[in-house]
């Protein structure tokens, strides 16, 4: 059997999706189900004196209307921030209560006030219009830049400050700056984005009053954690009587890693009315109440020697958390951001300060890359600017400062095990035909277009770990992963993982690993995930962790299967276990032709006896069955890196900016399925291009979300994009036996700075994301005016 690892194996999961047989949450309908519609705040900030449901309750079809008062009466707990951050002064972060239905205040447009449950969706929606809420509108704090200077929106949280966090050695950094030959400064805004998985969120609660079992079907990347939070913190249902199912999920990008208010309310409501309750978000509800991403304001400075060697870095960031602290909201701009501000450069000292603030906007949480795109955008804009100001070629400047020896202990946190940064830079230079760029610029100019080129060389930290370390810096849970390999008596295999696939192709990639490892044909392997009643507890999918952590757990469980198989084979073949080799699905006695296939061993393990014979195929002390579980806690993060080079053309008259060439060379370590990895890079890069050129969550002064539909929020479409050139280099990770590093977020991390550096190179003016036609056009006009004045 040929090795599958490294092959472009077509996806096992595709057929169901291509024939309309996927089963997403909204596709599920339960007998006797009622429908929920949420009453949401139309105001960014208000206090509520009364929620009057009397008229709505009498509307046709209404089953029940539940409010924050009902929630409080049932002692349902609030949503949590899962990672405790400690400020520089030693105080704990400040977190406001976050009830799933508003108690007496609302803190963003779309915040949850009440839920109307009716026989049909139309009836629920119509009755929701009749719920009368007495709001006293309060002055909202909307802008990130205003938060620290505004009156608190949450009682007792002075300056709207959640925490003021520092990382690094400030004194040493100041000293390096005092001696620096050159200091390069930059001010940046990392625009707020709306994740926009194509499947809107949905939840269905189903309670059986006799068995007292509750099932929640939900659009989620992390069902076990969702159950844990809804049990332990919201106190909706004990964990052992609670099943969370995340069936087919239509994209997540971070926005579905945790339970939302709707999940808590729907689960609780179903239990309360003892009927299934279904809720499916309209797209505008998704825009308003899915957690948003990014939203940083940053000032950064780079201390450099005249020869271009970086000697220090200072970063000050204000991160907007929105109206509440969502589950991963506090770790995203700290431990997922701060350590990465160094990029892949050998920077001797650095200090990073992050102030996280509350505003009356939708909560901000992890979105594809989570902290790492923000860090990379900062350092890559800064490095490009430094190279330009110092008259050093952008590639040469980077190469000069790359970490070149591994393992490398960075001055902030990470110990990087492997990499070869010049290798991917050089490959990208060649693939993008960098040396002839100026000819292309001239050619574009002859057509009246401004052409620019921009670089991003990035470092990523994936597979966040080890548990003991992350918990020591505030994580509410350990970040290991589980796997179970369950042989069936007939020799085929069910693989259980605690990760969750919502587009990443785990069914295929994980099966490739198991097939190679155990010598079982891939069609005889099935992956099971997304159901807390089936596999062991796991930590879900985010942070490009599934393969590095979950794949390793699978590998370890396979090793246990092989160990047990050797014992059984030895007994059956009358040899000792250490005389048995396992290869390509066969247990073979060394230097002999005596062997048993793994299928025969599985059969013997489940049917350990024969008619008419007393002798068991199992050795003494070996239990029947062939099923092994492994929990794997990584020893370190994995560190993908790469070089992306973008070329844009700008129309001088309209400001329209187009990406005309894009090259990505990534080092993801070992690649299991190059076809799937390519897809991850394409998708990530396009999301990054979206951030750079099109996407922006825009709130007006009063806190109304102006971009709350696809008519208003621009998503990259097929005709906005060129064909991307993708290639790889590979330095396998040493922190896991597969050598894999993670690939899901790289594109979204690398593309924004590559694109923006190209735009700035084209128009020779600093500009913020997204570089829309309007903004670019205005910048060009301003340029012209300034040039005229100067002349």
């Amino acid at each position: 059997m040929a090795s599958l690892v490294g092959s472009r194996v077509e996806r096992k999961e595709d057929k169901k999706f291509l024939t309309g047989k996927g089963r997403y949450t909204a596709d599920i309908n339960l007998a006797n189900q009622a429908y929920a519609y949420f009453v949401r705040s139309p105001h960014a900030r208000a206090s509520i004196s009364k929620v009057d449901v009397s008229k709505a309750s009498n509307a046709p079809g209404v089953v029940r209307i539940l409010t924050g008062d009902d929630l409080a009466k049932d002692k349902i707990g609030g949503l949590i921030a899962g990672w405790k951050i400690v400020s520089q002064d030693g105080t704990d972060m400040k977190v406001p209560a976050h009830p799933p239905l508003a108690n007496n205040t609302v803190n963003y447009v779309g915040d949850h006030v009440a839920v109307v449950i009716a026989e049909t969706l139309d009836q629920a929606r119509e009755a929701a219009d009749l719920v009368r809420v007495d709001y006293k509108v309060l002055k909202a704090v909307v802008k990130t830049s205003d938060a620290l200077n505004s009156k608190p929106i949450h009682e007792g949280i002075d300056k709207n400050l959640c925490f003021d966090w520092g990382l690094g050695d400030k004194a040493k950094t100041d000293e390096a700056f005092s001696k620096a030959e050159k200091i390069i400064k930059i001010d940046l805004v990392n625009n707020r984005l709306i994740p926009n998985a194509m499947e809107p969120r949905a939840s269905i609660g189903d309670y059986n009053p006799s068995s007292e079992n509750l099932t929640l079907y939900t659009t989620n990347q992390n069902p076990h954690l969702t159950r844990l939070v809804l049990s332990a913190f919201c106190a909706i249902q004990p964990e052992h009587k609670f099943r969370v199912v995340a069936p087919d999920v239509g994209g997540g990008f971070g926005s579905k890693i945790y339970p939302y208010a709707e999940d808590a309310v729907i689960a609780w409501a179903a239990k309360k009315i003892e009927r299934p309750v279904k809720w499916v978000a309209e797209r505008t509800e998704s825009f308003l109440s899915d957690c948003h991403g990014r939203d940083h304001i940053t000032h950064a400075e780079l201390a450099v020697k005249n020869d271009g060697k970086i000697v220090g870095l200072k970063v000050e960031t204000i991160a907007n958390l929105g109206g509440y602290a969502s589950l991963f909201a506090t770790v995203t701009p700290t431990y997922l951001y701060g350590p990465l501000v160094l990029g892949l450069y050998d920077i001797p000292v650095a200090f990073c300060n992050v102030k996280a603030v509350y505003t009356n906007t939708a909560p901000v949480d992890a979105y594809r890359g989570a902290g790492r795109p923000e860090a990379t955008y900062m350092i890559e804009r800064l490095v490009e600017k430094a190279a330009k100001e110092m008259g050093i070629d952008r590639a040469e400047f980077r190469n000069k400062n790359f970490i070149s020896k591994f393992p490398h202990q960075q001055c902030l946190v990470h110990n990087i095990d492997s990499g070869d940064y010049s290798a991917h830079l050089n490959k990208a230079l060649e693939l993008s035909d960098y040396k002839n760029f100026e000819n292309r610029r001239t050619e574009s100019k002859s057509k009246g277009k401004l052409r620019g080129i921009g670089f991003c060389t990035y470092l990523e930290a994936c597979g966040i770990a080890p548990s003991a370390v992350v918990m020591s810096i505030g994580a509410g849970v350990g970040l290991w992963e589980s796997a179970e390999i369950r042989f069936n008596a007939t020799g085929n295999v069910s693989v259980f993982t605690g990760t969750h696939s919502h587009g990443q192709g785990h069914d295929t990639t994980f099966a490739q690993i198991v097939s190679d490892k155990l010598g079982v044909p891939i069609e005889n392997i099935d992956l099971v995930h997304g159901d807390t009643d089936k596999g062991p507890f796991g930590m879900g999918t985010y942070g490009s962790r599934s393969l590095a952590v979950g794949g390793t757990a699978i590998t370890k469980a396979c090793d246990k299967i092989i160990d047990k198989g050797k014992k059984v084979a030895a007994h059956m073949l009358e040899a000792k276990p250490d005389e048995i080799d396992f290869k390509a699905g066969e247990f073979i006695v060394k230097n002999s032709n005596k062997k048993k296939t793994i299928g025969e061993i599985a059969f013997a393990c489940y049917l350990p006896g024969q008619y008419g014979e007393i002798k068991s195929p199992l050795p003494e002390g070996v239990e029947p069955g062939l099923k092994e579980t492994a929990f794997y806690d990584p020893v370190n993060f994995s560190f993908p890196a790469g070089t992306h080079i973008c070329e844009v053309e700008v129309d001088q008259d309209t400001g329209e900016t187009k990406v005309v060439a894009y090259t990505a060379v990534d080092d993801f370590g070992t690649v299991i399925n190059p076809m799937i990895v390519e897809g991850q890079v394409h998708g990530g890069v396009v999301q990054g291009i979206g951030q750079a050129l099109y996407e922006n969550a825009h709130y007006d002064e009063s806190g109304q979300l102006i971009t709350a539909s696809y008519m208003d929020y621009t998503m990259p479409r097929a005709n906005n994009l060129p064909e991307l050139k993708i290639d790889y280099t590979s330095t396998p990770a040493t922190s896991n036996p597969l050598g894999v590093k993670g690939c899901g977020e790289a594109g979204a991390i690398a593309a924004p700075p590559a694109v923006m550096n190209a735009v700035i190179d084209a128009i020779d003016t600093d500009i913020s994301m997204p570089a829309t036609s309007e903004k670019v056009c205005n910048a060009l006009q301003e340029n012209k005016k300034n040039n005229k004045e100067a002349a």
Binding site: F17, T19, G20, D122, M198, P200, G251, E678, Y710, A718
Partner: protein
């Protein structure tokens, strides 16, 4: 309430429905053909595309009553006796889908394109697909799949 009669995936269907019933809702909620997805409610994302008398339309903004008497093809009706249609086959071979949510609409849009244009070039494919949003694939492998399918049809 009114009665609509349609031929859906070759099967005659007649139902009494509320006047305001959208075609997507008739398919999904009444006929349990959940392969047609609803992603945006504003005719922007294209997850709900089906063929009405051979033409691709967004079923989330079309009253079912307005297409009374039509022939509808949904994603469930594209494969023939379990054998994937060349477009479905090409999406699989070229990794033209990830989470699968936009896929039914994407495939149905492509079916309309390839009926009218035998060998579209990259730009024609990209222009045609601008009414279908995919958040996962970055479109590149979808374009490759369309070209592959065109070569086989």
């Amino acid at each position: 309430m009114q009665r609509v009669s349609l031929v859906i995936n070759g099967k005659e269907v007649s139902r009494k429905i509320e006047d305001r019933t959208l075609l997507s809702s008739l398919l999904r909620d009444i006929l349990s053909l959940t392969g047609t997805h609803v992603g945006c409610d504003t005719s922007q994302c294209g997850a709900c595309v089906v063929l009405v008398d051979g033409k691709s339309v967004k079923s989330c903004t079309l009253f079912a009553a307005d297409v009374d008497g039509s022939k509808i093809t949904t994603i469930e009706g594209l494969a023939n006796n379990g054998k994937l249609h060349p477009i479905q086959e090409a999406f699989k071979k070229n990794h033209g889908l990830q989470c699968g949510f936009c896929t039914p609409g994407m495939v149905m849009s492509v079916a309309d394109l390839l009926k009218n244009k035998k060998n579209p070039n990259d730009q024609e494919i990209r222009d045609w697909l601008k009414g279908n949003i995919c958040r996962c694939t970055g479109y590149q492998n979808i374009v490759a799949a369309v070209k592959d399918a065109a070569s086989k049809m």
